[in-house]
């Protein structure tokens, strides 16, 4: 499994958000608040996990994923980077 860095995940999350939330997005940044600014729900957050897996060819463990991890694009990227199954 190639090492996927947090910055790459931030880019992927920002690219997938319009598709998952089914609307055009304002300018997104690592500090964009997913739930507060974009009204992302838990379910759409999990949809985003599935889309990330498909687009990056990875498998993500969501066992420890919680609401706080959806605070910002950056915090979510940090969670994903630490919970890729099979990553070295």
């Amino acid at each position: 499994m190639p090492l996927i860095v947090r910055d790459q995940l931030v880019d992927s999350i920002c690219a997938l958000l319009p598709q998952v939330l089914r609307r055009e997005m304002p300018a997104l940044s690592p500090d964009t608040a997913l739930m507060d600014d974009l009204a992302m729900s838990s379910t759409t957050g999990l949809e985003l996990m599935l889309e990330l897996e498909e687009s990056l060819g990875i498998e993500i463990s969501v066992e420890d994923l919680d609401r706080d991890d959806f605070a910002t694009v950056s915090s979510l990227a940090g969670y994903v980077a630490a919970n890729i199954i099979g990553a070295e």
Partner: protein, 306 residues
Amino acid sequence: MTVLAEVATYLPEGRTPIGDLAPSLGLGPMQVKVFQRYYEFAAVRRDPAGTLLDLLLGAVDNLDLRGREQHVRYVLHARSFAVVVPYPLNPLHELCRMRGLPHATAFTVTHQACASGLMALDVAGRLLAADPDPDALALVLAGEKAFTPETAMVPETSIFGEGAAACLVRHDGPRDRVLSYVTWPRGEFDDAAGATGFEAAYPQALADVIAAAVAQAGLSLPDIRVILPHNVNAVAWQRTCRRLGLDVSRVVLANLPHTGHVYCADTFINYRHAREAGLLRPGEPYVVAAAGAARGATFSAMVLTH
């Protein structure tokens, strides 16, 4: 003391994979995958040709009620939804007439949405405590039909399956004695605008009410053998258990993939599963817990000893 004297359940034969329900529920392929992979739903039971009365009779007829009808003073139907049949139909009263219970005081409780099942047990216990007949029984029923979009799914959260339960309640007895009951209505989440706040508050509020019920029973969490949940979804219970410091394996979620969320009947269906799987041992305490979403937003937990 309130005691569960006997619990019976009924599930229709018809098994519908949730993928087949996706068009009617308005779910896209990724949303279906979320329900399947993360929320651990696979199928629900449905009986499109059957009525609510059929469901309730299925559960009652699995009880050993014959010869005890005259002791049944109260019949309570615990429901997630206020309106389930058009006026003037009344399947609860019809059931009482058909099964030798026309003398019983029969009524419905819906005040706490999917947590109304626990409330019905509490109400039944209070009525029996005030009844002069020590042999008096209450019959608590649960079960509903998925007959509208609202009764088929909690958006982004849970999918309802049809089924029913019947529970005979006594004032005293050796097994399944209620040690405590804590219920926290949260009216601020009662409308659609409160749904986001409800979701955010959910894991901590449910964890807190479970901890409060355990403390009120004079116990601590390590004393609790199992939690019998309402089948909202697996992720909600993972997050609740994280806040309780409990392993989610202590929550009996085995029925979730097979039944979905069966309104107020989950508790009783999961009780039967726990009994049959040997998860309940005489004298050991267990928790039943439920949350009611939307109108009647509530978090509730009850501690019993088997």
